[in-house]
Symmetry: C2
């Protein structure tokens, strides 16, 4: 997607503070962090929203959560805990239309989640 911000980060056309990468996902620090650890995990395939997840790409959702778990462990927040969030469309608060998982931790997360 030529006009997708996150595809441009994947293509290294736009810089990001990358913290993790494997065959399936890329992860980088959120530019407007809401917690001591706030990282975005994106699939390398362009998928706009949660509504576009189906049998053909659902494996990438698991890849995102496994990446979140591994990053949390590396950041030292795995045992204390963390929250993962995916926003879909306007009511969900989705800001970029390339699906992404927010990983937040390093503090007590409160309830409700927004």
């Amino acid at each position: 997607m030529s006009d997708c911000l996150f595809c441009k980060i994947l293509d290294r056309e736009i810089p990001a503070d990358i913290v993790f990468e494997n065959e399936y996902v890329l992860a980088f620090n959120d530019i407007n962090p809401q917690a001591p650890v706030h990282i975005l995990i994106i699939p390398k395939e362009h998928i706009a929203t949660s509504n576009d997840i189906d049998a053909g790409n659902m494996d990438l959702v698991g890849e995102m959560l496994v990446a979140a778990k591994e990053i949390a462990a590396k950041k030292g927040i795995g045992i204390n805990g963390y929250r993962t969030v995916i926003n879909c469309n306007e009511d969900g608060g989705q800001a970029v239309y390339h699906i992404h998982m927010h990983l937040l931790g390093g503090r007590q997360m409160s309830w409700p989640p927004g």
Copy 2:
């Protein structure tokens, strides 16, 4: 897990307001809803936390999100949007140690997510 609340719901030992079920997941209304739609989606396999997701069970994460998408569509909030949240351990705000995805919608979700 004999002492797991959600396994007891899966076994119909404890009632819940079930809204969706398939081979992999069960979904029911949260007893303390934080939005007009607030549903918990749990895998039928007992997995304690996000830290226990690995190559052997990560397909269930995708199943949870696909279920969330399908439930959101049925509830009429798919297009307006929704938020999905998984809490891990104490800092994440995890209340039941059987992994579950919160699906919230029917209102504008705010930021930060807790």
